[in-house]
């Protein structure tokens, strides 16, 4: 059971950090308040 949780945590961290890097590349900061391009 712990092995599956570990594998899932590794996959989740990889995808999550890729998202973080993408946000930094696009908005040049990791402030979530800067991500307000959608209107409304």
């Amino acid at each position: 059971m712990f092995l599956f949780i570990l594998a899932m945590a590794a996959a989740e961290v990889a995808v999550g950090l890729a998202l973080v890097l993408e946000i930094y590349h696009r908005f040049k900061s990791l402030d979530v308040d800067e991500l307000s391009e959608m209107r409304g």
């Binding site: 712990f2 092995l3 570990l6 973080v20």
Partner: protein, 196 residues
Amino acid sequence: MQLAFYIASAVAVVSTALMLTRLHIVHALLYLIVSLLGVAVVFYLLGASFVAALEVIVYAGAIMVLFVFVVMMLNLGARGVEMEERWLTPGIWVGPVVLAGILIVEILYMVRGSTAGLGAGGVEPKQVGITLFGPYLIGVELASVLLLAGLVGAYHLSYRKVEKREIQHDADTHEGRAAAGGDLVLAGTDRPARTP
């Protein structure tokens, strides 16, 4: 044996509390690594030596290293300190502490009186391997598919199309070498030669 458990769990709890209150993100990550090592010691004392080794190697050694890589690549530490000073006021701890305290009281009430033997029923790595090849085979295959999906997703999210002009030289290395300033090592690349 009980003393070893109390020491290891105290280290894990204290380093987690320190991790939550640090202003510099690299300090927080290092305290989280210490906390995971403490949890690995607790796993070992419970008899799960294979799980303890995996916790150190995979969780503290791969996942946290990924975090440290990203934080150090984006250079988040120094800029974040003043932001955290503004946001991490003492007053914001009331809500999470109260809710987590309710959970702790509930868990302590449920496990009162039952003494789980430390080190009772140690699981050998050979046993873990046999169960992974036997009853839990589907779980292993699903975990590998999940890791493949995570790998492809992370690669696709960070794919950048790089426009790079290539300098074409003839197959004769003398021209390429002269263009690179007499350097045989740089002759095949488009990097400018170093001026001595």
